[in-house]
């Protein structure tokens, strides 16, 4: 299995080998790839899975997602494990045996509380398993001697529609395309009115057309398999079960736009899928469905490399993804120019979501009318939902666009529902007065995340969790998002710890609107959505935490003296001060 010689891959190897990336390694890699030291250093600092100090022999990353996070089952499992193993969260134990950190959603939301151990997902955590993990680590048992079923990731598919019902033998899509011809194929895609499944909903036919028309030295096809939006795991299932249809969709796109090279950008959390994807690529090359003279057509040459990310939600944004493909930190570019004209290496590039390519394969096989027969006028076809949170059957559900939230809730067995977060933290937070609304680009859009919260959940804590997610994932390029997401997190925290006043709600509103309006990219444009939706639909969640004042200082006089009390070892009555208003 050869991995593409890519900066991210070289750094991953070093991280695996030494458990961190030293300054010497950075200089060596820079020399090896003829890159500036500063670029390698910046990449190491940007991606969450690279460390500049040694991690433990067992390196554990607990997801902090509301669905697959360490609190998903009610108990704080990260605290439990760190106490049992006597290690502080975020640190490496003195003997170097282990380190425990938090990470953003790892896409295991249909499997309860989950973690990555040395990069591999371990699912269905509970207190009992935490005990067992403690023993295995203290006994120094290698991971391959741990119970196998802990690592076995099943897909739960509860409802099949257009894409999941039919079975497409490898090569059928390509043969159908060659029978149709290049332009007819593009016409079919355009007439299907297929829109991007990654969230933004841009017309796929138009995107391919624009890229085909753009001039350049080479054209590229890129599959966005970064799936970082918390609560989304449908691409994980598609990559596992429908890799052929995906690779076929990419190959069809390559033929239409005139590309010879494609990439799958796979999120680092899904590295465990790499062997399967590599094997599928190899198999397709053997079948003549990839490589040179595909299906015997001279000049139909195309191949695909896989580049694996390293823990950065922003790399799902298409221009940040392209920067990352180029071996740089994932900083979104200024647009225009758009990737269709100026993408990978400055050349015309199509970036599409996994599900979009698979839908394209099916459309080429079955025709655009088959597709438009499902869905609504503006949102044709079907959508895969990744349903998680408080319901009886979390998993994958494929619905025709236009389905109501209420219907979805009924079918997955959710009752006593307080709120639904559609489209992940970047999407929309809905209360029950909106459950009649439809899943569709023209109503409630989603890249696939559908998280359910029942009445036992603390909505403010969830909103705070989302705010922390964005503060952690902001790339730091532009002022409003870089500083604003941190201020929003701090502002919410002030209310949660009972120090917030009326004024703090107004302040959250004001900063949220600024972050939404003035940020550089989609991350900043959506980062304040949970707060704005929360203030609008769940104001009581904020209000019940407020003090009765209009304004409270963030600075607390007595708390500020704590350090002085410790230093002087005085903690009597005289060493405490009263805050004004107490």
């Amino acid at each position: 299995m050869t991995e593409h010689l890519h900066l991210l891959h070289i750094l991953h190897e070093l991280q695996q080998k030494h458990r961190y990336i030293s300054e010497e390694s950075i200089c060596e890699v820079a020399a090896q790839l003829s890159l500036p030291v500063s670029q390698v250093r910046a990449v190491v600092a940007f991606y969450a899975f690279f460390y500049s100090t040694p991690c433990g022999h067992y390196h554990i990353l607990f997801s902090n997602c509301t669905s697959c996070g360490y609190r998903a089952g009610g108990t704080d499992l990260i605290r439990m494990l760190s106490q049992k193993l006597s290690v502080n969260i975020g640190q490496t134990r003195k003997d170097g045996q282990l380190s425990i950190h938090e990470t953003s959603c790892i896409g295991m939301c249909d499997h309860g509380a989950s973690l990555l151990i040395n990069g591999v997902p371990l699912i269905h955590l509970d207190s009992e398993k935490i005990e067992q993990i403690t023993d295995l680590i203290e006994a120094d048992k290698p991971l391959n001697e741990w119970p196998l079923d802990w690592f076995h990731i099943k897909d739960h598919i509860y409802k099949r529609g257009l894409l999941l019902e039919g079975d497409l033998p490898a090569g059928d899509g390509l043969r159908a395309m060659l029978a149709r011809g290049r332009e007819e194929t593009l016409t079919e895609i355009t007439q299907s009115k297929l829109r991007g499944r990654g969230g933004a909903g841009f017309s796929t036919g138009l995107k391919w057309h624009l890229c085909q028309q753009a001039t350049g030295e080479a054209h590229y096809v890129v599959c966005n398999a970064d799936e970082g939006e918390p609560g989304t795991f449908k691409d994980r299932m598609l990559l596992q079960q429908h890799a052929d249809a995906l690779l076929e969709g990419m190959t069809i796109c390559a033929y239409v736009i005139g590309a010879y090279q494609g990439f799958i950008y796979l999120r680092g959390e899904y590295r465990y899928l790499l062997p399967h994807l590599q094997a599928t690529l190899l198999h397709r090359r053997k079948l003549g469905l990839l490589g040179t003279a595909i299906l015997g057509q001279t000049g139909f040459d195309f191949d695909i490399d896989i580049v694996v990310g390293a823990g950065a939600y922003i790399c799902g944004e298409e221009s940040a993804l392209i920067e990352s493909l180029e071996g740089k930190p994932g900083i979104p570019r200024s647009r225009p120019p758009f990737p269709v004209a100026h993408g990978y290496l400055g050349q015309p590039t199509v970036v599409n979501n996994v599900e979009t390519f698979i839908a394209a394969t099916h459309i080429v096989c079955n025709g655009s009318e088959w597709f438009t027969a499902a869905g609504t006028t503006e949102s044709t076809g079907s959508k895969l939902l990744s349903i998680s949170g408080d319901c009886a059957a979390p998993g994958i559900y494929e619905y025709s666009f236009g389905v109501t939230i209420q219907q979805v809730l009924e079918e997955c067995g959710a009752d006593n529902v307080q709120a639904v977060q559609v489209g992940g933290p970047a999407g929309t937070l809905l209360d029950q007065t909106a459950f009649h609304r439809q899943i569709a680009f023209e109503d409630v859009g989603t890249g696939g995340s559908f998280m359910i919260f029942n009445r036992e959940r603390d909505i403010l804590a969830i909103i705070h969790q989302f705010a922390a997610f964005f503060a952690h994932e902001s790339c730091g390029f532009c002022t409003p998002c870089r500083v604003g997401t941190t201020l929003l997190k701090q502002g919410l925290n002030k209310i949660i710890i009972g120090q917030g006043a009326r004024n703090d709600m107004a302040e959250l509103q004001r900063v949220s609107e600024l972050v939404r309006r003035y940020s550089h990219c989609g991350l900043g444009h959506t980062a304040a959505n949970p707060i704005l939706d929360g203030l609008q639909h769940f104001p009581q969640a904020f209000e019940q935490q407020l003090t009765q004042y209009d304004f409270t200082a963030r600075f607390e006089l007595d708390a500020a003296l704590q350090e002085a009390r410790q230093l002087t070892q005085h903690d009597d009555k005289g060493a405490h001060l009263k805050q004004e208003g107490d």
Partner: protein, 248 residues
């Protein structure tokens, strides 16, 4: 719209402004003596659009003037209360993100961030101070780097690459932890080929990069923004020359 838009004209607030194909809104505005507040833009250097102060409303949409191409017929709002209020908040964010102790900073009076705060009527920092820990690099014999005042505008990065033909700086790290790094094996300025005459050493809008042994060459009261408003067009030349006491 009643009349077809004039070719190669944009309207900024109440003025019609000509532009040449390929110019940005910022280029056209500056050429016509129209000030759009900006911190990360510098004429002649590729714009990047990170500070967001130059955001204007183009046909109702917020866009950064420094990176957005001018196009015939654009109706642009610039000097309006909503935008200036947002610019003020962004400036406050830049202040609290680092440590800006203006009265004791060598750059006071020559600092674009400070001048911007005055220009926008910013009377206090408003937000909680973040007190980041960022390293000082005093290793270079003639140039000082105090990261605590860096506003991550990347002008030094771009000036070094595009004008000086070197590659001394970069920005590393994510989110609120972003910081300026030096492109040497040691990470120290002393090992770089940066010289005091380089644009990269002089372009810093704040007091993050300072030329050593030139403290208070110009006394307070005779510094750039004691004598000029930041809204005057073309101050860059004075800026680059450094604050000589008789620069005016």
């Amino acid at each position: 719209m009643m009349t077809a838009p004039e070719p190669n004209l944009i309207r900024i607030d109440d003025r019609e402004i000509p532009f040449v194909h390929g110019e940005t809104i910022m280029d056209a505005a500056l050429a016509a003596d129209v000030y759009i507040p900006h911190l990360c833009h510098f004429p002649g250097i590729t714009p990047q659009g990170n500070c967001k102060l130059c955001t204007v409303e183009v046909d109702g949409k917020p866009l950064t003037a420094c990176t957005s191409p001018a196009a015939a017929g654009q109706q642009i709002r610039n000097n309006i209360p909503e935008l200036n209020e947002a610019r003020k908040v962004l400036t406050q964010m830049l202040f609290i993100e680092g440590n800006h102790i203006c009265p004791s900073c060598e750059k006071t009076g020559n600092c674009a961030l400070q001048a911007m705060a005055y220009h926008l009527g910013m009377l206090h920092q408003h937000f909680p101070q973040q007190f980041p820990e960022r390293e000082v690099d005093a290793s270079h014999p003639t140039i000082m780097l105090d990261r605590i005042r860096c506003i991550l505008c990347s002008l030094c990065v771009r000036a070094s690459q595009e004008v000086d033909g070197k590659n001394v700086f970069a920005i590393a790290g994510r989110g609120i932890h972003a910081s300026l790094i030096v492109n040497t094996a040691s990470g120290k300025l002393v090992d770089s080929d940066l010289e005091p005459s380089d644009l990269a050493a002089r372009i810093c809008p704040v007091g993050a990069i300072l030329i050593k042994e030139h403290g208070y060459d110009a006394p307070i009261g005779k510094r750039i923004f004691d004598q000029h408003k930041i809204s005057e067009i073309g101050l860059e030349k004075i800026y680059i020359a450094g604050a000589k006491s008789d620069d005016s």
